[in-house]
């Protein structure tokens, strides 16, 4: 027979009250686990969407020359000093310390060519990377499959009066137009898009790049860190993060996090209050019993231990139930909040331990006053009622 037997037997005796006590605390923990899980899902979803939305880092040559803009970004003096970025720079980007955060690396060379007497901007790309980067592109026709096929921007097609399946002569080479882009509203509309190596040859800048667009997963690593590491690898280039994209993401998440913290605190306070009132009622009901314990030689610390043990058992049960229910609820409401189809359930041991620890802590803290009050109970006062 140990003190824990007294605590366990008392909990078993008060089944209905203990049920509501556990329920109150479980609701609190469920709410916290749900919010944390949903924040995590939203965080990943937003990050994924934004990461998929396009590049969030642009690498351009360091140049004091006249600047040129592409996609709203200053890309340096490419027409004058286009040699400062090279094909050999591309592997270096994938060698940085946080390389697992690098999603897409899309090099580009921009130049101007003359087609049928008209000066048209041309951009050499690696189509595979480019299509991954620009998921919003819609093509009338097909994706280029070889060096001899090009895409035309919507406006470029109008200017050249060409459509899918037509041919173009670029610096003596005949290329086929595999498709025409739907209007994008960007400078892509005015471009002829060809294979990077083909364009490098066509405009006689072998191995040269005008810019490199990078899509990085910045969910687990701050973008500044990625920028810093790429800059160190490419000292001759200017590496710029597209902050606006990140700030929007961070602000949206921050607002939801603050809201969640507020809700969690309120719910946990209510849970704590339920434990407190229940334990106070229990102590008042057990005056006689505590009087007997004290009379037969229990120390104050023994009484405190009995009550804390009860709170701990309740807290542990509520923590385990709350974690399980929280996962279930977040699985149900997560997809609604994030718009994801079939949200994933992450069994996070840290969150599980945290939930059980938090629940136990609330149980014990809320029982501290009732426990001290019980221990200070004068045995003769308690026994006077005997």
């Amino acid at each position: 027979m140990r003190l824990r037997n007294i605590s366990l037997n008392n909990l078993k005796r008060r089944k209905a009250k203990v049920f509501f006590l556990i329920l109150g605390l479980t609701i609190g923990i469920t709410t916290v686990v749900t919010l944390i899980s949903v924040i995590r899902m939203m965080n990943e979803d937003i990050s994924m969407k934004l990461d998929e939305f396009g590049a969030n880092i642009i690498i351009i040559p360091r140049s004091d020359d006249l600047s040129l803009s592409y996609g709203g970004m200053n890309i340096g003096g490419i027409s004058i000093d286009g040699q400062s970025l090279k094909d050999s720079d591309i592997p270096k980007i994938r060698q940085i310390e946080v390389r697992e955060n690098i999603n897409i690396v899309s090099p580009k060379l921009i130049g101007v060519i003359e087609i049928e007497g008209k000066k048209i901007p041309i951009m050499g790309v690696r189509f595979e990377e480019e299509f991954r980067l620009k998921k919003w592109w819609k093509i009338h026709g097909a994706k280029p499959k070889s060096r001899d096929e090009v895409l035309l921007g919507n406006e470029a097609a109008v200017r050249l009066f060409k459509s899918t399946g037509d041919s173009l002569q670029i610096n003596g080479n005949i290329v086929r137009i595999s498709g025409v882009l739907d209007e994008t509203g960007s400078q892509d509309d005015y471009l002829v898009l060809g294979d990077l190596s083909f364009v490098q040859e066509a405009i006689k800048k072998p191995g040269a790049l005008s810019l490199i667009e990078v899509s990085a997963f910045c969910n687990t690593c701050p973008i500044e860190e990625i920028v810093k590491q790429i800059s160190a690898k490419l000292p001759h280039a200017k590496v710029t993060a597209i902050k606006q994209t990140l700030q929007t993401k961070m602000e949206a998440l921050d607002h939801f996090k603050k809201f969640s913290v507020g809700i969690s605190i309120i719910v946990l306070l209510i849970g704590g209050l339920i434990v407190f009132t229940n334990m106070m009622a229990s102590v008042n009901e057990r005056k006689r019993e505590i009087g007997i314990f004290r009379a037969i030689g229990f120390r104050k610390s023994h009484i405190v231990r009995i009550i804390f043990l009860e709170a701990l058992i309740v807290g542990l049960i509520a923590g385990i139930l709350g974690y399980g229910l929280g996962l279930g609820v977040s699985h149900l409401i997560g997809p609604i909040l994030t718009g994801m189809k079939g949200g994933k359930i992450y069994i996070d041991p840290l969150l599980a331990v945290g939930a059980v620890f938090l629940s136990s802590l609330i149980g014990i803290l809320s029982s501290a006053y009732p426990a001290v009050k019980a221990s200070k109970m004068d045995p003769t006062t308690a026994l006077r009622a005997l």
Binding site: M1, R2, L3, N5, I6, N9, N10, K12, R13, R288, E289, I292, F293, R294, A295, I296, G297, F298, R299, K300, S301, H302, P379, T380, L383, L386
Partner: protein, 238 residues
């Protein structure tokens, strides 16, 4: 030296601005192996004296010495230890813990010692057998008769072999036959050397004790042997 020595013990209660002298200048010596009955009308201070002797109730004045320990000079937690080591208390209405079985109730004082579960079980079973409750270890208190509950309370009080057994109206809730059985059990325990102090309303119980004390209005009217008590009770028509 006496096992229990009470020196000029007084207890004053204050209630709603009124002062009640529950006990006044009680001097008392109890030797090892004595069986004391404390008699007196309601409100005479019997239970107050018993709780003071049991280390449960601080006297307003005076000193209590048990086995050369000045009980009320002990710090609070040591006083709890004193109760556990020296006193077995049998309360009026038995006061068993309703959600613990018979054996668990008996083991209660042992639960806060460093005795192993096995040792606790052995001690509890031994005492239950001694007081005639073998076979009822797993029952809950409300599944027992009044006499059996009283026996469980006695077993709980005796399980850790305290030198002093205090009982407050031990037969108060029992029929006369069961009451006599319990008093015989006390007598047997006393014969084995157990020091017993009981508070009782019932003059018949005094025949089992070696000495009877009579309290009236917080004062000790008689502090002698049973012969003195017989004379006293005869003169006062008790």
């Amino acid at each position: 030296m006496s096992l229990i020595e009470a020196k000029k013990i007084s207890k004053i209660y204050e209630s709603a601005g009124e002062t009640v002298n529950a006990l006044m200048d009680i001097d008392l010596n109890i030797e090892r192996g004595e069986f004391i009955s404390i008699m007196g009308p309601s409100g005479s201070g019997k239970s107050t004296l018993l709780t003071i002797l049991g280390g449960l109730n601080h006297p307003t004045k005076g000193e209590l010495i048990v086995d050369e320990i000045s009980v009320y000079k002990l710090p609070m937690e040591r006083l709890a230890d004193f109760r556990r080591e020296f006193i077995g208390f049998i309360f009026q209405s038995f006061q068993l813990i309703p959600y613990l079985t018979v054996i668990e109730n008996v083991m209660l004082p042992l639960s806060i010692t460093d005795k192993s579960n096995k040792e606790q079980l052995r001690m509890a079973e031994e005492i239950l057998e001694k007081i005639g409750l073998k076979g009822k270890e797993k029952r809950l208190p409300d599944q027992l008769s009044g006499g059996e509950q009283e026996r469980v309370a006695i077993a709980r009080a005796l399980v850790n072999c305290p030198p002093i057994l205090l009982a407050d109206e031990p037969t108060g809730n029992l029929d006369s036959k069961t009451g006599r059985e319990i008093m015989n059990l006390f007598k047997d325990l006393n014969k084995e050397g157990q020091t017993i102090i009981i508070v009782t309303h019932n003059p018949e119980n005094t025949v089992f004790s070696t000495r009877t004390l009579f309290l009236k209005d917080g004062r000790m009217e008689n502090n002698g042997g049973n012969e003195e008590w017989k004379n006293y009770s005869h003169h006062n028509s008790l």
